[in-house]
Amino acid sequence: MSAPVPLLEAEAITRRFATLVANEAVDLKVMPGEIHALLGENGAGKSTLVKMLYGLLQPDVGRILWRGKEVSLPTPKAARALGVGMVFQHFSLFDALTVAENVALALDETAPLAEVSERIVEVSRAYGLPLEPKREVWRLSVGARQRIEIVRCLMQDPQLLILDEPTSVLTPQECDGLFATLRTIRGEGRAVLYISHKLEEVRGLCEAATILRLGRVVARCDPRAETAGSLARMMVGSNVGEVRRARAEGRAPVRLRVDNLSLASDDPQGTSLRSVSLEVGAGEILGIAGVAGNGQDELFGVLSGEARAPEAGNIVLDGEAVGWSGINARRRKGAAFVPEERLGHAAAPRMPLSDNALVTGHAAGGLARRGFLDRARMLGWVDAVTRAFDVRKGPRDPEAASLSGGNLQKFVVGREILHKPQLLVVSQPTWGVDAGAAMLIRQALIDLAAGGAAVLVISQDLDELFEVTDRMAVIFHGRLSPAYPTGELTREAVGLLMGGEGFAAPREEAA
């Protein structure tokens, strides 16, 4: 018997964007019935590669073979006709439309909605992906949204399913469900191309891996035979250090106290906070885990002063009630805040970095004097953040929007940390950031706490929370669990809390 023909083969693919070479002579082979991992840091060229495989971008050089025959993929429709399906990292769903309408949009043949709905129910039952066709998407959880994406791919009967970082938004339990589905898909002889940052997950799921660095293939391996450390080494090209933790034990004075805080959300789709209480001491990092949309945004808003607490005494900063104070008043007391959304919330996209430094530094950072801006100091601040956090950028002071996601994240975190705040509240500090930069940011958080600051980290990344925090609490439906010492917690225990186990039944069911 001759060697089996790969389902999909990319040969010597090169793609440039202006001066940037996103992919250079990339080869990729995916066999039928295989879950193939595509690994790499931010900007390694993974997304560019899969966009070409799905017909969204065209390679400059190189060819794509499907079952041994050369094909051209001018549009996603052509790719779907061959049997390629794709689940996007940022969901390509339409919030105002129903599940069935969303699925119908991705189907190439025209079918009446009623028929589409029936097929959704069939497919979702066959793969264990429960969905209600008539629901509008904005009413659904992140996990359910991902199920729509997967179901709508499966309805095309694809031979190759591409998933771009599918687990970054799921609870551990939801991840297990997804893995079971992927194994079912593999069992049917279909192939999966799986992009992920989470190396443990890749080791447990995938039989083959292609590793990209700076647009080139640097390694191919069987991830089951590797360790997470060796995979990370291949991705980064050097050793990824562990964060250092060295800290004095013993109770320090409480810097931030939140006392029985309840707050109705302004946003009709938001989550109201219900009697949230917590304490963060000097020199301590408290983590808040939870699936997105369980009140994290509301909690961050009320802590930073973007939203007003019902009573001033709900939030106490260094012994002073600040629940009614604005964000600048809190900054003058030595607090700093890094919101989750870096573009549009943490940074103004079309403003240069120096102006963005001013945005949070004007009240307490000494960047403005008697109402006049100190341009030299603003630029100096940008330079200092660039040096300390290895922000990679072309010009000295570019627009925030021109930075890559990971580099902008380093900038917005660094901008606050360099002020040496007494309290830092940070949401999703390393969201979408590659391993090297993530380590840098986490180390900075630990060093900040070691210097006596109180740090509150809101994150959905359990690995991160286990790595940096001293104590951890879980937020669910707007309520916060007690904080447990991180050393005494297991991943499973936190996962169960994130799914709502152990919380008293909520009085009103979320619609």
Partner: protein, 306 residues
Amino acid sequence: MTLAEAIFLTVITASTPLLLAAIGELVVERAGVLNLGVEGMMIMGAATGVAVAIVTGSSLAGVLAAIAAGMAMAAIFAVLTLGLAANQVASGLSLTIFGLGLSGVVGAPFVGIQREGIGKIPVPFLSEIPVVGPILFRQDPFVYLALALVVGVSWFLWRTRAGLVLRACGENPVSAHALGYPVLRIRLYAVLFGGACAGIAGSYLSLVLTPFWTSGMTAGRGWIALAIVVFASWLPWRALIGAYLFGGLIILQLHAQSAGVRVPSQFLAALPYLITIVALTAIMALRRSGGSVAPQGLGRPFVPDR
């Protein structure tokens, strides 16, 4: 004909141009494009329509020319906002200013020339129905067209796949592009449709309502059409209600003036906009637990990453 019937008739004629323009703009906005140039496209339709009708002696030729003029104006807007990704608000405003100026040039040779308006077509049998018949079924073709458009657009947007794709482009152009839909081309078609509707609405003014040309004869109706789209929360059948409500207000304003009612005419002229604000606030309050009303991608330029 009783007085009530006469008033109903005038309300219908006052409402029809509003409805025609609004239904076109509704489709444009559903595709995610905000074209504030309705007034400009409309008055170009009015000027071109009457000019061509006088020159050729054919009302039909006038209407077709008005459609072409509206679409040509819309095409300019499309080149700016879709081709060059220019700011939609600024482009739309300049389109209106441009149209108001250019229509004066087009219409200048025809100032004051009167011609016979387009007549009414009674629908056989139905127009014989007492009371309702003469009001609803003894109308000019534009009235029937406007009503047919409401039904047609409603059916298109919610019952056809093409309509679903168009709404998808307005909700989330990035996702629609990722699924392989030609967002810019779909938006172009929508903008051209909006231009055609505004052109017809304009020709109604100069060929039916007041069958001659005076400069600036649209008198803000394009803006009211824009307000109707918002008032209707982007639903065609609500646009129908809005158009008749606002058309009724215009007539009420005229009657109030002639009857010597001591309400400032400026207040009555402002009423459509006030009602729009109130309606919008009410809708937002009612939808407190609901999603957003406007298409999510409305007014945001889209540039495919190629």
